[in-house]
């Protein structure tokens, strides 16, 4: 039942995604400057630019270029060839996506518990000192520029305290060649695997040290959103009659909050949570750049400024698909948490 629902929703999003690539392709053709110029830089003599354009087949009409791209994608499942990097896009994705997944997961592991905790605390202890602190943290979280926070974290934890490395993914001291020894391309996972299979835990610990600061930086925005949504949802629920009834019956405070209120407040929070996750797994340009984390976000932004069409196309497709997927997961989870929507669906109604 769920599976069919999921499949249908996903199939519906395919034309949307394809339309998105077409729109982007067209938009990129509208802005001036092309990859031949970017590649040649100051050295772009007319012959050189003409030669590069011819070599990359940029002189074909745009619909021919787009058609070729689409044909390979649909018929061969080929994501295409990056013009700028001159290599298969699937190869570039193979390292960038795991890096992004690792960082995004770590950020969520921080954002979700901290965000929920702060949200619940500030709702329960409304208009107290606790509430103000939590609101302050969440407001700072949304409004503080990440690059500044990143520099602050480096300054404090790396330069002043010397506890954690500034940036990168793994120490050069560890005997582990990330290019050849990494099975998962996520070094914390590789590290756990090595530890479990008796290879020692130093790779895991090193990877964890490098992951900590970027994960904290990246977690601030989703954490703030989760916190604010939790607070308002909880406040809403806590004013309901049944909560007063529960309290009147003498149910202890923590039981009222965690058992009676939390489940009802969870619905909007879950929706926000999946939206945030979808955004995170699409890559985080600034965090990746600041912490020299070779993820997807930076790859895609670079491909736009270098006018690397196939890369922009496939990147957009991927990010779009991830977003659709997380939206879907969010809806399914809400359905599962809320018996009312479940009934509504089995009754044939729309949600």
């Amino acid at each position: 039942m769920f599976a069919r629902q999921a499949l249908r929703r996903f199939a519906q999003s395919v034309p949307v995604l394809l339309f998105l690539t077409l729109l982007l392709f067209w938009a990129l053709k509208l802005i001036p400057g092309d990859i031949a110029l970017v590649m040649a830089g100051e050295r772009a003599t007319p012959e050189r630019v003409a030669y590069i354009r011819a070599s990359l087949r940029l002189d074909d009409p745009w619909w021919v270029q787009y058609g070729l791209y689409l044909k390979r994608l649909v018929l061969e499942g080929d994501l295409g060839h990056s013009l700028f990097h001159d290599q298969a896009i699937s190869n570039l994705f193979a390292t960038a996506i795991p890096a992004t997944v690792e960082l995004a997961s770590a950020a969520l592991l921080i954002a979700i518990p901290v965000g929920l905790f702060l949200g619940v605390v500030s709702a329960v202890a409304r208009r107290t000192w606790w509430d103000r602190v939590a609101s302050f943290i969440s407001l700072t979280g949304v409004s503080m520029p990440i690059f500044w926070l990143a520099l602050l974290l480096m300054w404090f934890f790396s330069l002043n305290l010397g506890w954690l490395p500034t940036s990168g993914r793994l120490s050069d001291e560890v005997v582990f060649d990330s290019a050849t020894d990494s099975l998962f391309r996520m070094y914390t996972v590789d590290g756990i695997w090595l530890g479990v299979t008796g290879g020692g835990w130093d790779v895991f610990l090193s990877a964890l040290r490098y992951l900590t600061l970027p994960a904290i930086a990246l977690s601030t925005i989703p954490m703030a959103h989760i916190c604010r949504m939790t607070r308002s949802a909880m406040l809403d629920v806590l004013q309901q009659d049944y909560i007063r009834t529960a309290r009147a019956k003498g149910v202890p405070q923590f039981k009222v909050v965690l058992k009676h209120a939390a489940r009802n407040a969870a619905l909007p929070v879950v929706t926000v949570l999946f939206l945030q996750a979808g955004a995170l797994f699409g890559g985080a340009v600034i965090t990746e750049t600041m912490f020299a984390w070779p993820g997807l976000g930076k790859l895609l932004v670079e491909s736009i400024s270098s006018r690397d069409f196939p890369m922009v196309q496939s990147g957009t497709l991927f990010v779009g698909a991830v977003f659709v997927l997380f939206n879907l997961l969010g809806d399914l989870t809400v359905g599962w948490l809320d018996p009312r929507t479940k009934q509504g669906r089995s009754g044939g109604g729309a949600n």
Binding site: P32, G33, D34, I35, L37, V38, M39, A40, E42, R43, A44, T45, P46, R48, Y51, I52, L83, H85, D86, Q87, T95, A96, F117, V121, V124, W130, F147, L151, M154, W155, S158, L159, G162, W163, L164, P165, T166, S167, G168, R169, S171, D172, D177, S178, A179, T180, D202, L205, S206, R209, T212, F254, T289, M290, F291, A292, P294, K298, L299, S305
Partner: protein, 530 residues
């Protein structure tokens, strides 16, 4: 209750952080002879004939050798894989005798066949390896495709190259990275993927590459010029300049490539024990007048504006002293530099007079384009543009500042949409032709132009054309000096500055020399014991 949860989690967090911290001290890049070099970006690929960007070529230069090379710290040519060479009297035939007993990192011999293969793959569209690159950039760019008519192996250790016309810069071109000798066996094996599995004869051999993270090279113990002192060099990419600075201050890297002038000052304060070497770079930053547009078609106006700009102040303020004011389009370190030319004196009263003579007693309004990116020749183009804007204003010329995304910027300036534009150039082969012809010859003044002043003086163009065909350097130097004199009078540019390049290094790093062409050589580098 809430309180206890909070303080408990705080305690847990502190314990976690402390635990991480005590496990190992921040990666002190120290063990043995492993040098970590921090730079602004990853390499695009490691095929020296394909790429033109510094981050690619800096790695390639340590993996590959060329027939001839630039002597350390200079632009003079010295033997490398070729022990000696002869040039025929008509200047058309070059015969190279190769160094014996040199092997590639894969064990195959470096011989005449390998040299021919390395160059012909870029030259001959029918060559089996020609298709492995989308673009053989520099071969085309340096005009080798038009210049070279044949490259032959005379015997196992002798290569002959035949040219269509005599070319003075030819030998210097062969010292550039694109002319590196690659292992034909490896190219046949890896095909296009050779660009990610490079095999050369150089002092270091390729070990591994994790995209956008690091490239690892190990010493080639059988290197023909001796064994490198370093056991390993790691090139790490730090796309953000502030992060790169932090990594250097935290002692995570031994060397920090391309710091901004401000960062050099920060390093002097916060890590005073760091060594900082500085070298004048082979480059020029300039303001080009679009000589085909409005008031700028009048040389008097251009000369007047040359007098209006306080270059010393720009170098002090924006370059933080890391540069010298430019007089000519080529840097003074280059042979053929005309030192008898005196710069237009900074004199705004005289500038106003000249403008009045030219028919602009009340000045005029115009637009100045500035690049959106930091380049080695101009660390902060916006601030340079603002300084010039202020200088021009005091002589009555009101300038609006404009910028575009880098690709768009190059496009628009090449098409001549700008009235005035800031740009620069970094020399490739230490030959004045590589500056003057590219940037100021009438042959390159048609859109899309590399001569973005669209300066077209028939006499200058002819001198530059002739100088390419003379092989006696002394005579060429005279010709370039004459061209500089003419250019100075016509003033199609305001030559602004030649920047200096700084390399902050850990005090343990020994034997590193900055090269004028921007190459980074690690062959003679070592790390002192702590």
């Amino acid at each position: 209750m809430v309180m206890t949860i909070k303080s408990r989690s705080l305690t847990a967090l502190t314990v976690f952080m402390l635990g991480l911290a005590t496990f190992e001290q921040p990666a002190n890049a120290d063990s043995k002879q492993v040098l970590i070099y921090g730079r602004g970006g990853d390499s695009v690929s490691l095929d020296p004939a394909k790429e033109t960007d510094g981050e690619s070529l800096n790695v390639c230069d340590n993996i590959f050798d060329t027939l001839v090379q630039f002597k350390d710290g200079t632009t003079e040519i010295e033997p490398a894989l070729a022990q000696s060479w002869e040039v025929s009297s008509d200047g058309l035939r070059y015969t190279f005798r190769l160094r014996p007993n040199v092997s590639f990192h894969d064990g195959t011999p470096m011989n005449a066949e390998a040299v021919v293969y390395s160059l012909m793959r870029q030259h001959d569209p029918k060559h089996e390896a020609y298709k492995y690159a989308q673009v053989w950039s520099y071969w085309q760019d340096m005009g080798m495709d038009k210049l070279v008519s044949a490259i032959d192996a005379v015997d196992d250790k002798t290569v002959r190259m035949t040219l269509r016309t005599p070319s003075a810069p030819f030998l210097a071109n062969l010292a550039m990275s694109f002319a590196s000798v690659v292992s034909p066996t490896a190219v046949r094996k890896f095909k296009a993927e050779f660009a990610r599995n490079p095999v050369g004869t150089g002092p270091f051999k390729f070990v591994s590459w994790t995209k956008n993270e690091k490239i690892v090279l190990d010493a080639n113990k059988g290197f023909w010029a001796g064994q490198p002192k370093l056991a390993r060099v790691i090139f790490r990419a730090y796309p953000d300049a502030a992060t790169r600075l932090n990594a250097f201050l935290a002692k995570e890297i031994h060397m920090m490539n391309l710091p901004t002038p401000d960062q050099v000052n920060t390093i002097r304060q916060k890590r005073p024990e760091a060594k900082i070497t500085e070298e004048p770079a082979m480059n020029v930053a300039y303001l080009a007048f679009n000589t085909g547009k409005g008031p700028f078609s009048n040389p008097k106006v251009r000369r007047a504006l040359n007098m209006a700009v306080n270059k010393e102040a720009i170098i002090k303020g924006v370059y933080a002293g890391m540069g010298i004011p430019a007089v000519n389009p080529i840097p003074p370190s280059l042979w053929g530099y005309n030192s008898s030319i005196t710069a237009y004196q900074f004199n705004q009263t005289k500038a106003r007079q000249l403008l009045a003579e030219a028919g602009y007693p009340n000045g005029f309004e115009s637009e100045l384009y500035f690049p959106p990116v930091s380049r080695p020749y101009m660390p902060d183009a916006k601030r340079v543009a603002e300084a010039i804007q202020a200088d021009f204003k005091s002589v009555g010329v009101k300038v609006q500042l404009t910028t575009h995304e880098w690709a768009v910027y190059l496009d628009k300036t090449k098409k001549g949409e700008h009235p005035m534009a800031l740009l620069g150039w970094t020399g490739d082969n230490g030959d004045p032709d590589n500056f003057l012809s590219v940037l100021l010859s009438g042959d390159n003044a048609k859109a899309p132009a590399s001569n973005i002043a669209f300066y077209d003086n028939a006499k200058v163009t002819q001198i530059l054309r002739d100088a390419q065909k003379v092989t006696v350097q002394k005579k060429r130097a005279e010709m370039y000096k004459q061209a500089q004199q003419l250019i100075h009078q016509d003033a199609p540019w305001i030559p602004l500055a030649h920047s200096r390049v700084a390399m902050p290094m850990d005090p343990r790093v020994q034997g590193f020399i900055l090269q004028p062409n921007g190459s980074r050589r690690f062959f003679k580098v070592s790390l002192n014991a702590k």
